[in-house]
Amino acid sequence: MSELDFLDRIDLASVSEHPHRLAALDAFRAAGFPTRRDEAWHFTDLKARMRDFDWAQKGDQAVLALPDLSWAGVVLRDGIWDAASSRPAPFMSRLVRDEVVRAGSTALVALNAALGQDGVEMVLRDGEEGGTVMMVAQAGASAQPITPRYRVVLGAQATLTIIEVAQGSGAYVHDPVWDITLGPGARLDHYRLQDESVQSVHIATVFVAMGEAAHYNGFTLAVGASLARSEFHVALNGARGDVHLNAAQLLTGRQHGDVTTVIAHKAPLGASRQTVKSVIDGAARGVFQGRIEVDRIAQKTDGYQMNQALLLSPEAEIDSKPELEIFADDVKCSHGATIGALDPEQIFYLRSRGIAEADARALLIRAFLTEALEPIGESMARPLFEAAIEGWWRRAAL
């Protein structure tokens, strides 16, 4: 489906007449879906995947169980704030979309800006402790792209943990955008679970702007979608910023998964650590692109990036593209990439102890993921993420 066919499907009458929206729509129309000619999308052919996209496979939201919402949180259904299911914390509110439109830095962000229905705003005052909130996006009944916008603003020294869950059934396009601003010394723990329907397309873009000594601790687990991309743009604008950005993607069948990160060190003494792991089975394909930019002023930057892939079948594929752009002279930056298969010696060792082959493989894959899961620690999010990994074993039928 071309952009025009795609736009034809959209009920443009529902698009706001706000000039920002119309400009964003024009921007999307002009840019179109990214193709492999776009360098940032060289390994992920969104345009080709959209051409084959079958909107007819409608889902059923009723089959989706909500994660345990014993804590505060908001549920969006097909991008619309679901008041009945939501229990927002006092600092969470419905976002007035026309007021916040980030200049469309990519086609997908422009699409989000143009079409966006609802959004959620989380604003914490200086020193406020927000605890843990859930942000659940469920999809399935919409023939329209689902384009929620999240705006998070943490004042100085404020803290918050967000557990984000994206799930759905049937074929849909989910294009969420996160706009995160962290004040001096603020800390955001952002745990993301992408558990979309395997017919869906999920393209998430996360912008993080960090003040002095702010801390962003992110972990994304991606198990769903036909094609998925999580794209991060993190800017360390103040000195001594600290970023921990981990991800794990589990892919099988013909799934395509992409983790793309751009970490911009724009001030001295910043630290960034990334561990991205991909487990790829069937004829699935994984992509990791990680760029670390170190400005001339960002002396004493400490950057670390590790990217590892476990290929479980002969047709599985990974493309890995680390990039370092360093303009300061007193920095420590390292990156590494490994690609491997499961070790038959390890599998035999486990089987010789009575553990069935499939369980042995699952145990070793889980061990491979351990390091990437570090940021979630023993938080409330852990059982949710462990269950998602378990679910993937069953689907992949290792």
């Binding site: 089987r351 010789s352 102890r353 553990i355 069935a356 070793l364």
Partner: protein
């Protein structure tokens, strides 16, 4: 009871076992001694079901079951345990979690109830104490950063908790100092009983000072060339393996 008859096996078309006949009755410990390259490790791998070995003839019955037809995990469930010559490291897998998973897999296959974490840890700690092993052995990743001796002790810990009917100890004494050797031997001796038998594969006699075997067999050139009582080990220690293959 283990009954091996006329067992022949190859690896990459090279004939390693050329017709092994061996019976290990319940409750007995047999030692297999022999020079390097005699086929000692191959025998233990064939019995435990490792890939890469092709059995070309003969049979192996374990309690009347055709052992060679079983998957490695089914052999473990039936009560066969291989203590590896080179225990494998499993980064990211906690030792307690690993052993508990193994114990429960075996219990499940035998139709016994699974053990919860608390009950398992209680038993594991008791075994660790009995075997004079360091307490942190359970907390570390499986064999990662373990010394050679610690790895072998970890094998014995697994054996103690899995309670096999037949243990195959593949050169478990190699690379052990005298204290570790004694701990390993104590572990095997503690398991001794009417429902436990073992094949102790070793190059040297010294392990057999601590684990006194009921029978000693000499494996050379892919065949068992001599069998005898414990005194055979002493004789080999005195005179070496030279000339045995011709015997």
């Amino acid at each position: 009871m283990l009954e091996i008859k006329g067992l022949t096996a190859t690896i990459e078309d090279k004939i390693i076992l050329k017709g092994i006949d061996l019976v290990v009755p319940d409750g007995e410990i047999h030692a297999i001694m022999g020079p390097n390259g005699a086929g000692k490790s191959t025998l233990s791998y064939v019995l435990s079901g490792r890939d890469g070995y092709e059995v070309t003839g003969g049979s192996v019955l374990f309690d009347g079951q055709d052992l060679l037809a079983m998957e490695p995990e089914a052999r473990a469930a039936a009560g066969v345990f291989l203590a590896f010559q080179y225990p494998v490291e499993l980064p990211g897998v906690g030792n307690a979690n690993f052993i508990r998973t193994a114990v429960n897999a075996v219990r499940k296959a035998r139709g016994e109830p699974e053990m919860d974490t608390v009950a398992f840890l209680k038993e594991a700690r008791a075994a660790i104490k009995r075997l004079s092993m360091p307490e942190d052995m359970l907390k570390r990743n499986v064999n990662v950063g373990f010394s050679g001796g610690e790895k072998k002790r970890n094998e014995i810990l697994q054996m103690a908790l899995l309670q096999p009917r037949l243990a195959l100890l593949d050169e478990t004494d190699s690379g052990l100092d005298i204290d570790a050797l004694r701990i390993v031997a104590d572990g095997v001796n503690a398991a001794r009983g009417p429902n436990f038998s073992a094949l102790v594969i070793t190059h040297y006699q010294r392990l057999l000072d601590h684990i006194v075997p009921d029978r000693v067999h000499v494996l050379a050139g892919g065949r068992i060339v001599r069998s005898g009582g414990p005194e055979l080990a002493l004789e080999l220690e005195a005179h070496g393996y030279a000339g045995l293959e011709a015997a």
